[in-house]
Symmetry: C2
Subunit: 266 residues, 2 copies
């Protein structure tokens, strides 16, 4: 007997189910081809520096929308949304320590909070798969392998630190296509930042990712390719131990009304 | 008898000549293929809102670099530069009125000023010309025609207003190429925002530009094409009558060390 689970087909449907308490799972697979976003919420007094950090590091930190202090609606990319209720699971950090993992922010909200919605890799992963590149973790419980590199981001105010990258094995004969397909999406990390030898960017062991799970090479014709990763801004912000910071819980993203193709520059 | 004028060949050379008082002219033609930037300098208390305005309107307001309050060096795109001395001519506005047009900012500088360097159309104009599209005003004293449209920008804080566009006549058989060539440069306005009938974007008379000079159609196979213009952020900021705002004088840009190709996403 198969249980019937409703998979929401649009960003708006997904947000409405979440808000009604009927969707508490990771959002991978929900609202196919709608843009999903990483969430970082910070007090207004550090918002300029964080926005500037994102501007200086557009590959790891592509800004989809900023919700200003006093507002809770992503009025441009998700009209009618409420950032306090429309993410399936949140994490609340005080001075760098996680203090709560709630399913809404009604008890934590303050009028001085600024919300940053940052592009995630789902959009360009669709583009890779559409070009015949297999991603074995896609649509499973597993996650892409991620590594802390020795590439320094451009600092802004108190924000600085190393770039985090995601790693994918790309067949030699799809390498050019992988660069082309992801270059179209600068708003969701864009072109790779490195192709080949991981040690060049400070990765000593490709089988020991810092986050996510290892993806084992299955054939000698696969080349290691690395893209800037949206974990970078969260890890950089967290390292400053802000008085209050709220994020989505991993995999539990904010789903917008934008389609992937809306973010393509070409 | 021809007088010999030294044309600086790099961004650094150009800035050094300007700083030494030996270059007081418009920068068009200087440092070919180096990225030139519009300059907007505002007090820190409105900097977050202005940066957010640029993030929300990347086509008219592509941010090349932001120099934080207390700093005067564009450390990322022009190491060793000094924004107070390295622009040939500035304009100083108080409460929306021009009060000075100095060749340096030593008498006007304050430690709370934040400098925004915004992409200009020179980079994509090189790309158009490289693709055989003639720009009759290029390298002359004349300027591209610019129009205020009825397209509203996305507001941020106190900043809002209509988008300004630049207009170019493109031969029918170069239309696709013009879109392709400029799409590569989202950091300098990117793809056109409109092709064809000017009235669709609120332009009633193509022979009466709001800024710059008219470009007369010379053949029936020319199509009107419109790109978002860097005059937009200046006109939007100025309309709020900020207590202090400093800009470059038209045509007298800040020249960076970036090459045009550094801004291509593809």
């Amino acid at each position: 007997m198969t249980s019937l689970i409703t998979i929401p087909q649009t960003g708006k449907e997904t947000r409405e189910l979440i808000r009604a308490g009927q969707f508490r799972q990771p959002t991978s697979g929900a609202a196919p081809h709608f843009v999903q976003a990483n969430v970082a919420i910070l007090p207004k007094d550090v918002a300029f520096d964080f926005l500037l950090f994102c501007q200086r590091n557009p590959k790891p930190c592509p800004v989809v929308e900023v919700i200003e202090a006093g507002d809770v609606e992503a009025a441009i990319t998700a009209p009618g949304s409420d950032i306090r209720t429309d993410v399936p699971l949140y994490r609340v950090y005080k001075n760098g320590e996680m203090v709560d993992e709630p399913d809404n922010l009604m008890d934590h909200w303050r009028d001085d909070l600024v919300t940053f919605l940052l592009g995630c890799s789902f959009s360009f992963e669709h583009a890779l798969m559409a070009n015949g590149i297999d991603l074995p973790y896609y649509g499973t419980e597993r996650n892409v392998p991620m590594f802390i590199t020795d590439i320094e981001t451009e600092a802004a105010g108190q924000f600085s630190g190393p770039m985090v990258v995601s790693h994918r094995w790309i067949p030699q004969d799809k390498l050019v296509r992988a660069v082309q397909a992801t270059s179209r999406f600068p708003g969701t990390h864009g072109a790779p930042i490195h192709i080949g030898d991981p040690s060049v960017i400070g990765i000593s062991n490709i089988e020991k990712p810092d986050f996510g799970e290892v993806w084992e090479q299955s054939s000698d014709d696969q080349v290691a390719v690395f893209w800037a990763c949206g974990v970078t801004p969260q890890s950089v912000a967290m390292s400053t131990k802000p008085e209050l910071m709220i994020t989505h819980s991993p995999g539990h993203m904010f789903v917008t009304d934008l389609k992937d193709e809306d973010l393509a520059v070409l």
